[in-house]
């Protein structure tokens, strides 16, 4: 393992300022390590951008540019075109990356343009399900009933009242290669990155990245929360190739959604009343619908200890 001053060399080095247990830091390090050194990254504004690049210290050992909040896909398009015209692009993977807010919302147009123009760019969407960097505000990928600072529960509200935007399907509709991964399954994530790298043309990997601060769980439980999300059926992992859903990660026995939701304070309001329990049923229905769509197994309630 190559070292820098006695530290293992990674694309994203230790010493950055992410929260303890940050799923996004883990996911980004795993993903870019899987690509290797021949990469150029355009990064939207967000946690990932800011925690690693407070001047004068950078955590990145690969070429990296941050421009604005919504334009990494467009900047990457220019990078790819520039390399191509100068004959310098051989073997270099151009990456555009950002969080769910910058990808699903403000940067949606730029990403769509990049995808439909067919650039050979890997788009990495790190989905922690809210605008975390600015203090946990609701995004288009915030799940149903989640508390965020702009979708708080109260007398008139159960929290976020919309479903997650189905970004993988929207991206696939552009004809791009799609993969859905999780920081809770590091080997799977890296395998997915490596497989995507073999695709010439636009590819998109959505990486579920649990956020201890934003979701409200202890910082040593990041991997476990990532796995529970998948095991509950609320975050299926799969690929979309030629418009078809393939290579679904098998979940032979699903856990009930409560197992995943209860440890997170962003869902605490659902566990206080019978009305809350009704909401939990609705969330269970989302998981059940996913199970039907992706061929996941039935819910098996674990025997209580």
């Amino acid at each position: 393992m190559e070292k820098i001053e006695n530290m293992e060399k990674h694309a994203l080095m230790a010493g950055h300022r992410a929260c303890a247990g940050c799923g996004e830091a883990l996911g980004a390090r795993l993903a870019i390590d899987a690509i290797g050194e021949n990469v150029i990254i355009a990064n939207n504004t967000g946690c990932l951008e800011v925690f690693g690049t407070k001047w004068p210290e950078s955590a990145w050992t690969v070429p990296w540019i941050h421009s604005l909040f919504e334009n990494a896909a467009a900047v990457a398009s220019g990078i790819e075109a520039g390399l191509k015209v100068m004959g310098k692009g051989e073997g270099i993977q151009v990456v555009a990356q950002g969080g769910d807010g910058s990808t699903a919302d403000i940067g949606f147009g730029a990403m769509s343009g990049m995808l439909e123009r067919g650039h050979d760019i890997l788009y990495l969407c790190f989905d922690n399900e809210a605008y975390m960097n600015t203090g946990i505000q609701r995004s288009g990928l915030t799940p149903f009933d989640a508390r965020t600072s702009t979708s708080p529960p109260g007398k008139e509200s159960w929290g976020n009242d919309t479903m997650k935007k189905d970004l993988p399907a929207i991206v696939a509709a552009h004809g791009a290669y799609v993969s859905v991964a999780s920081a809770g399954y590091p080997y799977d994530l890296q395998a997915k990155v490596k497989r995507a790298m073999k695709v010439k043309g636009p590819k998109y990997i959505q990486v579920h990245v649990p956020c201890p601060l934003g979701w409200g769980f202890a910082s040593n439980l990041t991997l476990e929360m990532g796995r529970l999300a998948v095991q509950s059926g609320l975050y299926p992992l799969y690929d979309i190739e030629n418009g078809q859903i393939v290579r679904v990660k098998a979940v032979p026995k699903r856990v009930p959604v409560e197992a995943y939701l209860k440890p997170q304070t962003r869902y605490a309001h659902l566990f206080k009343s019978p009305a809350g329990a009704e909401q939990l049923k609705r969330i269970q229905a989302i998981a059940d619908a996913n199970a039907a769509k992706f061929g996941l197994g039935p819910v098996e309630v674990a025997e209580s200890a």
């Binding site: 900047v75 790819e80 520039g82 015209v85 123009r117």
Partner: protein, 393 residues
């Protein structure tokens, strides 16, 4: 070679001669002909460039930024709403010190929506850190593009350049233009040797969060702007040496030597002002014209020098800063504030939304300024329309 061509065609030819490597294109009247022409050149194999059909002006500027960051010569064009939409990217490109060149085909901004010429668009982004050069005619529009990359890529500058040309008035008019040959342009404008690029062989981090060093980085741009004044003059002089005609530079006087009143502006209106000045001179009135080419950097010292001894200036501008005095007039007044015996500077807003500016309009303004100080006057407003507007509220 001298040809009668549409302004847009002349400019696209100039851009081709600059051997731009990445073009990002998004349509907006009245610059669209430029990017359309470029697409045909690329399609014909006449221009070896990557042409990105982006999905918005915000992305047009962003793609140019990305291309420039890997060391490719990047170009885009826009107007009006497109300039405003990409505004944050313009600040970003300048902040990152990337030598992108862009044509702004000056057009009015909404609301109300209007496709015709005025300079509100480029004037509105004057704080972004872009060098802004205004063309008087289509020849100067061609020439400024050739000079723009030299200025932008100069190691003492490293700032993006916006070449402003009046929409429709210049872009869509046919004038005889000399289009230089590739060999002479290549000698004048060699390939860009970028030193700070994104490169896996030498990884760097661009666009960092900055508390320490933020002010200093902004100040560094101001220094670069000051350096740019020399560079703009130097490149203009070299241009004249290579191509045999004067174009560009910071400013240019016309019949100013003994002028009692000087008419000042940016852009194509200069042609009209020169024509009126000639008329007035013929009738014995000593009128001069001062063309400001470089709006950014604003050459305050050079303007003060040019206007030394001049008693009156009438500033004409096709822009406004709503809630404050007009922009060009204000900046000139400000630049001359400390000068001893500074001229009286009157301000006239003309031509918004393509409103026709006649010789009579200029004559009237000169009369007003000659009679006394005009703090600000919007010329040729339709009084009846104004009454209707007031009544409708």
């Amino acid at each position: 070679m001298r040809k009668v061509v549409e302004g847009s065609a002349a400019v696209s030819e100039a851009v081709k001669l600059c051997r731009v490597q990445v073009i990002s294109a998004y349509p907006i009247t009245p610059q669209t002909h430029i990017v359309q022409n470029l697409s045909q050149m690329v399609a014909n194999g006449e221009l070896k460039a990557e042409y990105i059909r982006v999905e918005s002006e915000h992305s047009a500027a962003s793609a140019a930024l990305g291309a420039s960051a890997v060391g490719a010569r990047a170009y885009t064009a826009s107007s009006s709403q497109g300039i405003l939409l990409m505004a944050e990217v313009l600040f970003n490109i300048a902040g990152l010190r990337l030598p992108v060149v862009m044509t702004c085909a000056n057009r009015a901004v909404s609301s109300p929506i209007n496709i015709w010429n005025d300079q509100q668009d480029s004037y509105s982004v004057r704080d972004a850190g872009w060098i802004q050069l205004h063309a008087e005619d289509n020849q100067e529009a061609v020439d400024l593009h050739l000079q723009a990359y030299r200025i932008a890529e100069h190691t003492r500058v490293e700032l993006p350049v916006m070449v402003c040309m009046d929409g429709f008035v210049l872009t869509h008019s046919y004038e005889p233009v000399d289009l230089p040959d590739q060999a002479t342009v290549d000698e004048f404008l060699p390939a860009w040797k970028a030193t700070r690029i994104l490169d896996p062989k030498n990884p760097k981090t661009f666009g960092m969060y900055s508390e320490e060093g933020y002010s200093e980085t902004r100040y560094a741009i101001e220094k670069a702007m000051l350096n740019a004044k020399d560079v703009i003059e130097g490149v203009s002089a070299e241009f004249e040496h290579s191509f045999g005609r004067h174009s560009g530079g910071l400013l240019r006087g016309y019949r100013m030597d003994d002028a009692e009143i000087v008419l000042m502006a940016t852009g194509s209106i200069i042609g009209l002002l020169k024509s009126v000045a000639d008329d007035m001179r013929a009738k014995g009135k000593k009128v001069g014209v001062l063309k400001l080419v470089s709006f950014r950097p604003f050459p305050g010292e050079e303007l003060a020098k040019a206007l030394k001894g001049i008693k009156k200036v009438a500033v004409f501008e096709k822009a406004v800063s709503l809630g404050a005095p007009a922009i060009l007039a204000s900046e000139l007044r400000s630049a001359l504030y400390a000068a001893k015996n500074r001229p009286e500077i009157s301000s006239f807003v003309v031509g918004l939304g393509g409103k026709d500016i006649s010789e009579q309009t200029i004559h009237r303004a000169v009369e007003m300024a000659s009679a006394g100080y005009v703090a600000q006057h919007y010329m040729e407003l339709d009084e009846e329309f104004l009454r209707d507007l007031a009544a409708a509220r």
